[in-house]
């Protein structure tokens, strides 16, 4: 899955130089869902997350010529998604200082994947609840690491934290999961 994101620089340069639909569609195919899912974590509303994700894509389209100069378009898209989502939260709650730390992130595994043999639905839910018990940034780090295949450095950039913090958060999340595994499978 990481391969898809590796294609981004090539797609971006085609888009910037030609402005053709094919390139935009390819960009959309790679960045739309990650932006939407990330936004959903913050907004918890499907419609609003969709709006944000579409906003992100249109912003990328409008800036397509400058995109050539962006180091990491994947990170850039997520940062836009993050700030658009926080802006919406701010408007909705009238709380001027809404930051990621104040948001109630509702982590979830992507649903409707075929049921796995080892991790059945019941266990999956327990794992989800375990992650949901972690602080907001921790949940986001876990989500971004697992689903967007971002490097620690990229996650750090999206969330404006240090690489060390990313590592600490991710390890905290997996430790929690490991505890559940230990109990469930009686690992010694």
């Amino acid at each position: 899955m990481k391969d898809r994101f590796n294609q981004l620089p090539e797609i971006v340069s085609r888009l910037a130089l030609s402005g053709c639909e094919q390139a935009y569609r390819e960009l959309f195919n790679i960045l739309y869902l990650p932006s939407k899912k990330f936004s959903f974590c913050i907004l918890k509303s499907n419609e609003e997350a969709e709006e944000v994700a579409e906003d992100v894509m249109i912003t990328l389209w409008k800036q397509r010529e400058s995109l050539l100069k962006i180091n990491n378009v994947h990170v850039y898209a997520l940062v836009i998604a993050k700030n658009l989502s926080l802006n919406i939260l701010r408007k909705n709650s009238r709380n001027k200082t809404a930051s990621i730390d104040d948001v109630d992130i509702n982590f979830f595994f992507d649903s409707s994947s075929p049921e796995q043999i080892i991790i059945d639905n019941e266990l999956k839910q327990r794992l989800e609840r375990a992650i949901q018990g972690l602080p907001p940034k921790c949940q986001l780090v876990f989500k971004l690491a697992k689903e967007n295949n971002l490097s620690y450095k990229e996650i750090a950039e999206v969330l404006s934290i240090s690489v060390k913090t990313v590592d600490a958060h991710l390890v905290a999340a997996t430790q929690k999961l490991a505890l559940i595994f230990k109990a469930e499978f009686q690992i010694k």
């Binding site: 053709c20 050539l68 490097s151 997996t174 505890l179 690992i187």
Partner: protein, 352 residues
């Protein structure tokens, strides 16, 4: 959980996210061999990482169709038949015939109007003064954009020559017209660049410490004057920089540093030079600059006064490019990167 279990999970986390160092991987193998039960953790975490990895292409397709419809006006795609690039336009046979006719007409006009001049010896110099940018179309259809304080020279009868030669001092961006039979050669003080049909930028100012060639599209072959056995082929998004020891001339026998880099976005030289090709479109470029540093630049670029006292906001870093935005649009765009507020009162903008 016991200490070694915790350590194993910690190392597994880094391994699964691709961030483990070789030492950590080694330690992990050792620990797993010592505590074989712990291998379950690896299998389980792998399963967790696989959760939700389903085929979403149908969902995306549907979303895309919806998206296209909703933003019909904004998404003004270039149709395949009307590629904006001059290069592909020239490849159409109709254009070739039209160009042939034009050349015939043009050359007969030249013949009738400028009979008294010997074409072979007429050299055309295009000069852009400091702070001026000029765009020129050469006889072969190549578009050249000259940056300030630069000069481009070519022979008036370049179309009748076996090669298309131009001389450059300073900086120019080239969109070379495709012509398989006649290579286009840009010669500067330090380098010679041979191209067939492509877009690239050359910077070679006499007083500069660096000479730099950046390739955007196509491919070019570059040789260094005085060292012509060594040829460099650049691929798109690569650039070659020739750094001089002494700012007067390149001493090719000693350590001149040759670097082929990928275009690093937004690397700033000094304030007067905007990196690579952004200058050709009057773009204001900044990378990872603090708000504090950006404010005087914004003030100069947009001719406004900006007030900011908040030290936190001062430390925010931005990377971006502005083209036609006015100051308010620019600030709005910056808000997408970091959250802050602004207010415009008369001629002053306050950021808080």
């Amino acid at each position: 959980m016991v200490t070694h279990e915790k350590r194993i999970v910690e190392l597994l986390t880094r391994k699964i996210s691709g961030e483990a160092t070789p030492e950590e991987l080694g330690e992990l193998s050792y620990l797993l061999s010592k505590y074989p039960d712990a291998v379950y953790y690896e299998a389980l975490l792998d399963q967790v990482w696989d959760l939700g990895k389903r085929d979403e292409s149908d969902e995306v397709q549907e979303a895309y169709e919806k998206h296209k419809l909703k933003y019909k006006t904004e998404l003004d795609f270039v149709q395949d038949g009307e590629k904006r690039s001059l290069v592909s336009f020239i490849q159409r046979p109709v254009f070739a015939y039209a160009m042939l006719v034009c050349i015939l007409i043009a050359s007969s006009l030249y013949y009738f109007n400028f009979r008294q001049f010997k074409h072979k010896d007429v050299r055309v110099d295009i000069i852009a003064g400091k702070g001026i940018r000029k765009e020129v179309k050469l006889p072969d259809g190549t578009l050249v954009r000259l940056n300030g304080d630069s000069k481009l020279s070519y022979d008036l009868d370049m179309q009748s020559q076996k090669q298309r030669n131009v001389l450059l001092t300073g900086e120019a961006f080239f969109k070379v017209a495709h012509d398989k039979k006649r290579p286009f050669i840009v010669k500067t003080d330090k380098v010679a660049i041979k191209v067939l049909g492509t877009e690239f930028n050359v910077r070679d100012y006499p007083g500069d410490k660096e000479s730099e060639t950046t390739l955007i599209q196509g491919s070019i072959e570059l040789t260094i004057n005085g060292r012509t056995e060594q040829k460099f082929i650049l691929k798109p998004s690569e650039k070659l920089a020739l750094v001089k020891e002494d700012s007067q001339k390149v001493d090719l026998n000693h350590s001149s540093v040759l670097m082929i880099n990928n275009i690093s976005p937004l690397k700033l030289g000094n304030e007067e030079y905007i990196e690579e090709i952004s200058w050709t479109e009057n773009k204001f470029v900044f990378q990872n600059e603090t708000m504090e540093d950006l404010i005087p630049r914004l003030e100069r670029w947009y001719n406004v006064k900006i007030v900011l006292n908040d030290p936190l906001i001062k430390s925010f870093r931005f990377t971006g490019v502005f083209v036609n935005e006015n100051i308010l649009q620019a600030l709005e765009a910056m808000q997408l990167i970091k959250s802050f507020n602004y207010e415009q009162k008369e001629n002053e903008i306050k950021i808080y």
